[in-house]
Amino acid sequence: MRIGVLALQGDFREHQRAIESLGEKAVRVRTEAELAEVDALVIPGGESTAISNLAKSFGLLEPLRNFAKTKPVLGTCAGLIMLSDEVEGAIAGQEFIGGLPIKTSRNAYGGQTHSFEADVDFGGQKERVAFIRAPKILDSSRAEVIARLDGAAVAVKSGNLFGASFHPEITGAKILHKLFIQAVRENQTK
């Protein structure tokens, strides 16, 4: 199994490390050719405006949209925004991959002084993660909620797509990556 990490901008190295710590191979993806070589993709945290801009400039948006139709994709923070079908607070001309039937609001938790660490609840199992200028999931009614914080959805799944408002990769949290790797395995045996 080869899991790609979109390496246009952001903390892609931390995601690579998280995947490798669970015993799977992780490679960087910056081009359509590299995308064709992987079984699944992680879109890391970063600035969604920069990631969107670079994906568009290098002709990656359509390949990414096609990839997300059949292969597992996990997006955290900026990655969640990239996978959302509806985004509030996008800049003019900002384009997304889409596929997750949710509505997301950029930077809705506030600026950096409102960034925080917290224990999120994966169906009874708690894990410490970080919310950095994080997006909020405003409407998750058409997706499966896999983690909550104070009752609100902070991670969701729909088909082969996973998205989270937070960063599991900088606190060493593992549950989300484990769930994702399991989904990649299932997708391969289909």
């Binding site: 405006t49 920069a50 950096q112 660490e117 200028r133």
Partner: protein, 297 residues
């Protein structure tokens, strides 16, 4: 917010810098420039009244920007907004924090307010980035609470040689530290004028505990890519963009070259037809009192 939400922890402060990696942070002096930077793919903007090249040309005391300007820039863009406080000027930093900037740069580009002490950055919720020319300086800033380090370079010159020197020095000093035996680290800490525990951590991990960007003199896509190849996590571009012939095109080109820093074909392609780069000043022609990198202790 409930007590389960832990704000302003070191991890949260350093975490934002982690998200800026592989990106370009651009100096802007108006909301219009901030918008151009955001549209070009900047990961953050530095809100200033004058870019370093103008501070250099006009002289005088350089201070924190007008809060109105910072507010306008915060209201114009959706990406993080940074702003500069003078070295040691903790009240400018308090003001910037109350304006809710996302990062404060305690910067040698402004006139220092304290020639002995830097700001005690642990006292703040907002994270700080500080300049460094060598490992000892970087570690002293981290000890004072900096959540991100940038090489100083020589701001406002368009001459990348000092930035090269600083990133090479920092990384080569880290490699030298990693090669030392346990008992040699005590003396190393003394020589670096940094706490032993931090020196030991860097020796062990082979890297700083915070993100390391490069700043000062970056003016072209090739400059940015060179800094990335030398081992920087990302790049600050100050005067290089808005003192050039076509800022929007140059900004976008530097962003692309930073992502594809190891692909000369991409760098060549984005370097075409950018118009004039900033004229610049050779660092060697600068008399010593005008060298900003020497500010900070």
């Amino acid at each position: 917010m409930s007590e389960e939400f832990l704000e302003a922890t070191p991890l949260v402060k350093r975490g934002l810098a982690e998200m800026l990696k592989g990106g370009v942070i651009m100096d802007v002096v108006t909301p219009e420039q901030a918008k151009i930077a955001e549209d070009a793919g900047a990961v953050a903007v530095m809100a200033l009244e004058r870019v370093p090249a103008d501070i250099r040309a006009q002289g005088g005391v350089a201070r924190m920007s007008d809060p109105d300007l910072i507010d306008q820039i915060i209201n114009t863009v959706s990406i993080p907004v940074m702003a500069k406080a003078r070295i040691g000027h903790f009240v400018e930093a308090q003001v910037l924090q109350s304006l809710e900037v996302d990062y404060i740069d305690e910067s040698e580009v402004l006139s220092p307010a304290d020639y002995v002490n830097h700001i005690d950055k642990w006292q703040f919720e907002v994270p700080f980035v500080c300049g460094a020319t060598n490992l000892g300086e970087a570690l002293r800033r981290i000890t004072e609470g900096a959540a991100m380090i940038r090489s100083k370079g020589e701001a406002g010159t368009g001459d990348v040689s000092e930035a090269t020197k600083h990133i090479r020095t920092i990384l080569s000093e880290i490699r030298a530290l990693s090669a030392k035996s346990e008992e040699e680290l005590y003396v190393a800490a003394k020589e670096l004028q940094a706490p032993y525990q931090l020196v030991r951590e860097v020796a062990k991990t082979g890297k700083l505990p915070v993100v390391l960007f490069v700043a000062g003199g970056v003016a072209t896509p090739a400059d940015a890519a060179m800094m990335m190849q030398l081992g920087a996590d990302g790049v600050f571009v100050g005067s290089g963009i808005f003192k050039s012939g076509n800022p929007a095109a140059r900004a976008a080109a530097i962003v692309k070259a930073t992502t594809f820093y190891d692909d000369p074909a991409v760098i060549a392609n984005v370097s075409r037809g950018l118009g004039e780069a900033m004229v610049g000043i050779n660092v060697n022609d600068l008399p010593a009192p005008h060298r900003l990198a020497e500010r900070g202790w």
